[in-house]
Structures are given as C-alpha cells and as structure tokens.
Amino acid sequence: MKVGLFIPCYINQLYPQVGKATLELLEKLNVEVVYPSGQTCCGQPMANSGYESESVGACHHFVNNFKDFDYIVTPSGSCAYHVKKHYNIIPQTNDVTKVRNNVYELCDFILNVLKVKKLGAYFPHKVGVHKSCHGLRGLRLGSCSERVTPEYSYIEDLLKEVKGVELIPVKRSDECCGFGGTFAVTEEAVSVKMGKDKIKDHLESGVEVITATDTSCLMHLEGLVTRNKQPLKILHIAEILNSNL
C-alpha cells in the first residue's frame, strides 16, 4: 500500500506541526507514506469564492502529484471533500477518477482503511470536538444532528481510545464555526460572531482543548481565542492522536 501524504497549503505554511504529527502518526502505524514535494493547494479557496475556473491549474497539479498512490491521506476533511466533490471541472481521466476515489481524511483512513482504533496515545485533558462541516456533512465522517441515522463519529471513536482524554459534550454538537474560507473576511461580522459563540459553548461546557479534523476551522477559533486571551488550547486531532506519555 503506497500512501501519499497531502498537506494543504495553509498547514504547510502556517501549521507545519500538524503535518509533522500526521506523518509521524502514519509512520507509527507502519504505513509506507510519501510526501510528494512541491504541493500547493487543492483549489478550494478559488472555487468556493466562485472562481472555479481559476482553480483548474491547481487541480491538475494536485492530480499529477498524487496519481501514482493507492491512497491519499490528508489532515483536512475540507480539502479531501473538495477533491472528491468538485474535481468534476477537469476532464475525468483515469488518473483524476483514481485520485478522487482514493483521497481520505486522516481519521477516516485510520479507522476504515487501516482498521485501527487504539493508537497508544496519551492526552490527559478535557477535550471538546468541533465537527468541521465539510468532513461531517460532506464526507459523512460522523452522523449529524439534522438527519435521522444511527449515531457515529470517527473522530470521537479515535479520541475515546486515547488514554486520559475526557470527551466533553457541548450544547450545539455540530454547528458551523463560521470560518467558511473567504466567508471569514467577506462576511467578517457574522463569521466572528459564529466563532465567538462556538468558543463560548466549549468554554461553558468545561472544555480545555478544542480539536477538529480541520485546521482551517481551528485557525479561525485560535485567532479569536488568542485575541481575547481565553483559556482554551487549540489542537488538530493529529496532534492529540500523536501525543505520547
């Protein structure tokens, strides 16, 4: 099994520690993982802003980078979802279809491809999960509160096996945090309000650490927590799953 590690642009530049944790975690699980150099972006920022056509170059570049892998794994539900859902704007060659079919969000890959639950991690904290929307309602990485389906959550399944973690339920289990890509700046007022409300929910529930499958949501929440000097730590799920004694 040849696994290509896809590190989204903003993680590469701004949150390299998330990339490192993802790589180390996969290596711990004895996965033969390669990081193809020269990665950029999946194209989502342009496409979600209404400029799908400007993202075509990024799409081709992405497919070229990853066409030879059996699986493509990424610490971002949102980017994986974008490749799966929106790479219909370029000709559907075998390479494109293969890449679209085989791209996985990290937790999904660990649970459903590697079929591993216990990762030997230790993290003695009260953790609140933010269920990032594209992962939740796009990739269906868990059940959402709107639909009447059996309850499940990949990220929580993995967290439950982490020694020391106390999972803290919040009032609104799967409301959006308000990041939304360029929405965060074009609709600044609402975006900030949504983020503030999300943080308030976690703080009032007694959460010490917020985690998620997406660093983009977390960057938004971290920006607010830092500015307002709130007692919350923000970590990507890979960082928690990769923590040791």
Binding site: Y15, A47, E54, V148, E187, E188, V192, R227
Partner: protein, 457 residues
C-alpha cells in the same frame, strides 16, 4: 445594500443577535425532537423529494389536470405569467364583486408579487390575519421569516406597536394578552370582510382541490366567512395525488416548528352554493428556474422554513439582511434566478456548511446550489477588482509550486516580524477581531526535505 453590510449592521447589537439566534435555534431543536421520533424519516424525505421531482418533470400535464378538475368543482381558474398580471387578476375579481375589505392569510406568493400595495393604491383595505404578519404589517415591514414573520421583533416592540395601532393597554409584553387583543381586533375584520385571500400549500391534480395549513385558523376564518375566496399559488405547488398529502403533511409541520402536524390542514375543493372560489396560478419566473438543471430542485420547496432556523448565518444576521421576499438559504438559491445583480451577495452569505440541505424535508441540495450560483455570479455580475485579481493570482501561484514556496516564505516572515498593529490594520478584515497565527520559521515542506536529507546523510 449587500448581505454583509446589512449583517454587520444587525451585529452591532450583540444582545439582539444572541436573542434572535437562540429563538430560532429553539425552533430547530423542537424540529429535531420531533423528527427523531419518526420511523423512516429519511425515507419520508426521499419520497418528498421524489414526488416533487416527478411532478416537475410532468408539470404541464399536472397543471392541466388540476385545472380541469378544479373547474369541474365549480372553481374559477386564472393564470398569471408574472406578478403584475397576478395583481391585476386579483384586483379585477375584487372589483367585479365590489369588494372593499379583504382579509389575507399567509401567502409568500402575494408578498413576492407585492399585492398589498397594489390593492391599497385603489383604496382596498388588505388585512394580514396571521398574527406575525399582522405585526409586521402594522410596523410597515416585510416579514423576516416565512413561517415566523415577526421573529425579529421582541414582545416589548409588539406591545408598543399594539398600543399605537390597536389601542391596547401597556402589558410589559404579555403574549397572552397581546394575542387576545389581536384576536378581537382581527375577529372584527373577518366578520366585515368582502373577500378572503389565502395561499396554497398543496394543490392536488387528481382532485382539483387544494390544502392550506395554519395553526391560528385564520385562513379558514377568512375563507368560510367572506363570500369570495381567492387562493393564489405558484405553479410548483402541484402534487399528483391525494395520497401524496400523507407524505408532505408529515414532513411540513415537523420541519417547520416540530409540531406533528399543523393545527388546521384544510382541504378545499368545492365552494358552497352561495359562494365563489377562485384560484390564481402564477409563474413569475418559476418556469425559467425549471429550465436550469442545477437549480430546478429549488422548486421542490414546501416553505417550512427549517433551512432558516438551522442556518447559523441567518440566525445571526436576521431575515431582513437578505433583502428578498424569501430570506435564508432557500431564498439565496431562488432570488438570484430572479435578479442576479440585486441578489449577487446572497449565495456568498454561507459557509457551505450543508446544514440546510440535511435539514430540508424535500432534500433540496441547497448548499450545492449556493456553490453553483457563486460560479455564475462571478462570471455575470461585476466583481470587485481586488477580488478578481487576487483569485487570478492565487490560481497562478497554486499551479506553480516554486512561486507558492517563495510567497509562503515571505508571508511567514511577515507574520513573525511585522508589528501586530500593521498586520491587523484596516485592509485585513481577518485581523479586526482575530489574530493571525505566528509565522513558523520552517514550512512543512522545508522540514520534510531537511529530514529526508538528514536521513540520507
């Protein structure tokens, strides 16, 4: 004004935003409590979707069938291509019958057509009888929600409004008292009315009958007392068979308010011998929306309002921030089809979180349609120069890894070294209320390559 502008004005009063958000979240919560007890809910949604999709694919035939049966029932059927013609038809019916006083129950279609001002211009009194609609009518405002028209007003505002217009006593916003006074006030209007106008929730092709759902009983009070009943419907309100009501009535109220069904589901078919019943079938852009494969499913909408209650943006920006007859997510996919320029900011008033699509009782892929409207809007309406250029630049950078790495380096250096006051200054909307991350010295790419070299050496 655009949605972000109106939303940011709404957000100046954070207490009000909190209140608005909580009130609507409560409705969403009631909906959850209700639907999670329905066995086969997702199947029911599939049926709702499938019946509507089938209906649209045979709409002309069903409309003809409906008309023929309605005529057999003694109902007069009228057709209006647009809002203007709809208003003319209603006006003409009223004139012919010398009707001066009209009571109207909730109908988003008559809002869409701006019927009230049209009739009022000719001295006809039109009284909205749904309590929420009456409140906004007295306040001279449009409804801010399709099921809860006055959800943006608190009880004290209603108290003051009623004191001014209905001569009520100050009551510290007691809803029981205010509703009682409205009942008395509107009872008089019902008794005096020359004609009643209602909307239509479902029109059944095989019977020629139609169903109107209310909780207050206002549609029935109007329609059964006044000598004339005019029911106005969009072409998409058709369902093929009576048995399909079993699906839609199970979906509608649960999605709207969490009730198992509305208090009154009234099935109108034949007028009483001494009364007249008219149906006005309206297109007003619907047939055009039908022509758009990506957007035609928006015509499945049964107007439950669940997408508004669930939308985190709607709850925190208020219905009026959409500046459209139908606000919220469903409005944001319907309105651009009518006036792309005017409503060009609406498909962007979303994080594409997808909650609207999952809550929708007839499974309209609302968030996917928002995404598709965005692609059309950037091509067909003038876009800010900066937005256009920056998107081109990003597209360019992301296609070329060397450029990306170079620019990333500069950005990280800036984040580390420039003063925060500069980073968070005006042009950076992000920085107004949020910090940017510290720029790390090394990108992941650099770290990985370094590690690889260390391993090799």
């Amino acid at each position: 004004m655009s949605h972000p502008q109106l939303a940011s004005i709404f957000n100046k009063d954070e207490k009000k935003v909190n209140w608005h958000d909580k009130a609507l979240w409560f409705v969403r919560h009631k909906r959850d409590m209700s639907v999670h007890h329905v066995q086969g809910w997702e199947e029911l949604r599939n049926l709702g979707h499938g019946i509507k999709a089938h209906m649209l694919s045979n709409l002309d035939a069903y409309l003809e069938e409906f008309e023929a049966n309605a005529k057999k029932n003694g109902v007069e059927v009228h057709w209006a291509t647009n809002a203007e013609e709809h208003n003319q038809i209603v006006h003409k019916i009223l004139k012919e019958n010398n009707a001066k006083k009209v009571v109207k129950s909730k109908s988003m279609l008559t809002e869409e057509c701006h019927l009230n001002p049209y009739l009022e211009a000719d001295g006809i009194e039109v009284v909205d009888t749904d309590l929420g609609e009456r409140i906004v009518q007295l306040a001279k405002e449009p409804p801010s929600h399709i099921v809860l028209p006055a959800i943006h007003k608190n009880k004290h505002e209603v108290d003051e409004l009623f004191q001014e217009h209905l001569g009520t006593k100050p009551c510290d916003g007691d809803p029981q008292y205010l509703t009682g006074e409205a009942r008395k006030h509107l009872r008089q209007k019902f008794i005096e009315a020359d004609a009643a106008i209602t909307g239509v929730n479902f029109a059944i092709a095989e019977t020629g009958g139609f169903v109107v759902c209310t909780n207050e009983g206002n549609a029935d009070m109007g329609a059964h007392i006044a000598p004339i009943h005019i029911a106005c419907m969009g072409v998409e309100k058709i369902i093929p068979k009576l048995e399909h009501l079993g699906v839609f009535l199970r979906l509608l109220a649960r999605s709207a308010t969490g009730q198992p069904v509305t208090t009154y589901s009234s099935h109108f078919k034949k007028p009483k011998a001494d009364k007249k019943m008219h149906i006005v079938i309206v297109d007003n852009g619907r047939s055009e929306q039908l022509s758009r494969p990506d957007f035609r499913a928006s015509l499945h909408c049964i107007r439950c309002g669940a997408c508004m209650n669930t939308c985190p943006i709607y709850r925190r920006s208020g219905g009026h921030s959409y500046d459209a007859t139908i606000p919220g997510p469903i409005g944001s996919i319907l309105s651009p089809g009518k006036d792309l320029s005017k409503h060009s900011s609406l498909p962007f008033a979303s994080t594409l979180c997808g909650s609207c699509s999952d809550v929708c009782p007839v499974k309209i892929d609302i968030h996917a349609q928002l995404y598709k409207w965005r692609q059309i809007i950037t091509k067909n309406t003038p876009q800010p120069f900066i937005k256009k250029k920056s998107m081109q630049m990003m597209g360019n950078i992301f296609a070329k890894p060397k450029k990306f790495e170079k620019i990333g380096k500069i950005a990280r250096w800036s984040l580390r070294n420039l003063p925060k006051s500069l980073i968070n200054s005006k042009p950076n909307a992000w920085g107004k209320a949020r910090d940017l991350p510290e720029g790390p010295k090394q990108s992941f790419d650099e770290w990985y390559n370094e590690r690889k070299q260390n391993k090799n050496s």
